[in-house]
Amino acid sequence: MNLLGTWIAAGLTIAILSFLYRDNPLYKFAEHLFVGVSAGYWVIYIWAFDVKPMLIDEFVRQAGFEKWLLIVPAVFGVMMLMRWIPRTAWISRWPISFTVGIAAGLALTAQVQGYIIPQIQATLLPLVSVGNTTAETIGRSFNNILIFVGVVCALLFFYFSREHKGALKVGSKIGVIFLMIGFGASFGYTVMARLSLLIGRLTFLLQVFGFR
C-alpha cells in the first residue's frame, strides 16, 4: 500500500512538472485531482475538528447558560451559509460584520503593542555606540547610522505632501536605494525557497527511481 502511494505521488509530481514543457491533459488531471481532494479533505476536517467537537459535543456536554449560548455561533454559522441563495445573501453580512469587528479589535492592539511601538523603539538607537574595542565601536555605530538613515529616507520617499525637490529629493532617492536592497533580499530568499521545493521533489523522485 505504501509502495502504491509512493508511485502515485511520483506520477502526480511528474504530471505537475510536465506543465513546464506546455499545458497538457496530464497536468490538468493532476491539478483537478488536487483541488478536489483538498476540498474534500477540508470538509471532513472542519466537521471532525470544528463543528462536531466545538459545537455539537459541547452542546451535549455543557449545562445551563453556557449550553444555550452555543446557539449564537450555530445561528451565525447558518446565516453565513445564506450566501449560497442570492435572495438571502444579505443575511450573511451580519456574521461577517461580527467576525470583521472581532478581527479588527484584536489586530488594533496587536499592531500597536506588537509592531509599531517595538519597531520605533528599535529604531531609536544612539548614533555612536561604544563597544569593547575600536572595531566594535565602529561596527556598531555604522549599523545604527545605517538603520537611522534607512528608516528616515524610506519614510521620506512615502512623504507626498510636498514635491520631491532639493533635500527631500535627495532623501527620497536614498530611500529608494534602501527599498530596492530590501526587495532584492526578499527576491533572493524567494528564489531560494522555490529552489528548495524543487530540491525536495527531485530528491523524492530520484529516490523512487533508485538514483539515490
Binding site: F49, A110, Q111, Q121, A193, L195, I199, G200
Partner: protein, 272 residues
C-alpha cells in the same frame, strides 16, 4: 554577438532544463559542502540549549505540503534537540491541513527518541479561531483544548497537570510558511512576554528580521539554508544539509543567466 542575441531570447524551457540538471546532478552525485552557521540560527539553537530540563515548549505547525521541504528538516531537528534536552512539547497549530502532515515527523522522531505520549509531548490538534486561539491560550489553554487530537481529556495526561497558559511555557517555536509567524509575535509575544523563535520559509524570512533586530524574537531559522545550519548544530545532517550543494549550484547558474541576459539586453538595445 549572435551568441548574446541567442542568450537574450533563449527558450524558457531550456532554462528549466538547465536548472533541473543543476539541481539533480549534485543530488545524484551526493555532493557535500561546508555549512557556515549564522548568528540568528545559532541564537535559536542556544535558546533551546539554555532551557532547564522539563521546560515546556509550544510548537505551532503553520505550514503544509507546499513548504515541507524547507520546514520538515527544521521540525525534525527541533524535536531531536528538545527530546535530547528532556523538554516537554505541546504540538498544535493553525493550519488544519498541516498538522497531520507534520505528525508523520512527530511520530518518527518520538519513536526514535523514545518519547512517551502524555509525559514528554502531547498533540492537541487544530482549533479554528487563529488569533483568537493564540490570545485565548494566554488565559487558559483548556478553554480551547479541553481534549487532545483524539478527544482524550488533557487533564488525564501527566505533563498537562500544571500547564494552564503562557506563564507555564518557556518558549514558543513557530513553523510557518505564511503570516502566522508575525501573528505569534504581535498577538502573543508582546502581550504575554513569552520567548519565541521562528522557523520559516525563505519567502517569509526577510519579514521577520525587523523583529529579531528589535529583540522581539530570539532567532530565525529561515529557508533551506537555515534548516541545514540547524541540522548541523543539532548534529543530525539530513535532507537540508544534503540539499545545499544543489541549492548553491542552481544559484550560481541563475546568477549567470541574469548576467548574460542583461548583457544581451543592453547590447541589443545599443544596436537599436
Amino acid at each position: 554577438m549572435k551568441v548574446l542575441d541567442w542568450l537574450a531570447n533563449i527558450d524558457r524551457r531550456l532554462i528549466f532544463l538547465a536548472i533541473g540538471l543543476a539541481v539533480a546532478i549534485p543530488i545524484i552525485m551526493k555532493l557535500r559542502m561546508p555549512i557556515r552557521i549564522s548568528s540568528e540560527v545559532r541564537s535559536a539553537y542556544e535558546t533551546i540549549e539554555n532551557l532547564p530540563e522539563g521546560s515546556v515548549v509550544l510548537a505551532s505547525i503553520d505550514y503544509d505540503a507546499t513548504s515541507a521541504p524547507e520546514l520538515t528538516p527544521m521540525f525534525r531537528s527541533f524535536l531531536r534537540q528538545c527530546f535530547r534536552k528532556k523538554l516537554k512539547i505541546i504540538y498544535t497549530g493553525h493550519l488544519a491541513i498541516g498538522l497531520p502532515l507534520a505528525q508523520f515527523d512527530l511520530d518518527m522522531v518520538t519513536a526514535e527518541c523514545g518519547a512517551v505520549y502524555g509525559e514528554d509531548y502531547i498533540n492537541l490538534g487544530y482549533r479554528p479561531g487563529y488569533t483568537a486561539v493564540m490570545i485565548g491560550i494566554g488565559r487558559e489553554i483548556r478553554d480551547f483544548f479541553a481534549v487532545d487530537y483524539k478527544g482524550v481529556p488533557v487533564d488525564s495526561f501527566p505533563m498537562m497537570k500544571d500547564i494552564h497558559n503562557y506563564g507555564d511555557m518557556a518558549l514558543i517555536v513557530d513553523f510557518a510558511h505564511g503570516t502566522a509567524g508575525e501573528y505569534w509575535i504581535q498577538y502573543v509575544v508582546s502581550r504575554f512576554g513569552v520567548r519565541m523563535f521562528s522557523c520559516v520559509t525563505g519567502v517569509m524570512a526577510p519579514t521577520l528580521y525587523p523583529y529579531l533586530q528589535a529583540g522581539q524574537i530570539t532567532g530565525i531559522i529561515g529557508g533551506l539554508q537555515g534548516a541545514a545550519e540547524y541540522e548541523m548544530l543539532v548534529g543530525n545532517p539530513e535532507s537540508a544539509a544534503f540539499g545545499m550543494p544543489a541549492q548553491s549550484i542552481a544559484h550560481l547558474l541563475i546568477i549567470a543567466f541574469i548576467v548574460f541576459g542583461n548583457i544581451g539586453y543592453f547590447i541589443s538595445r545599443r544596436k537599436k
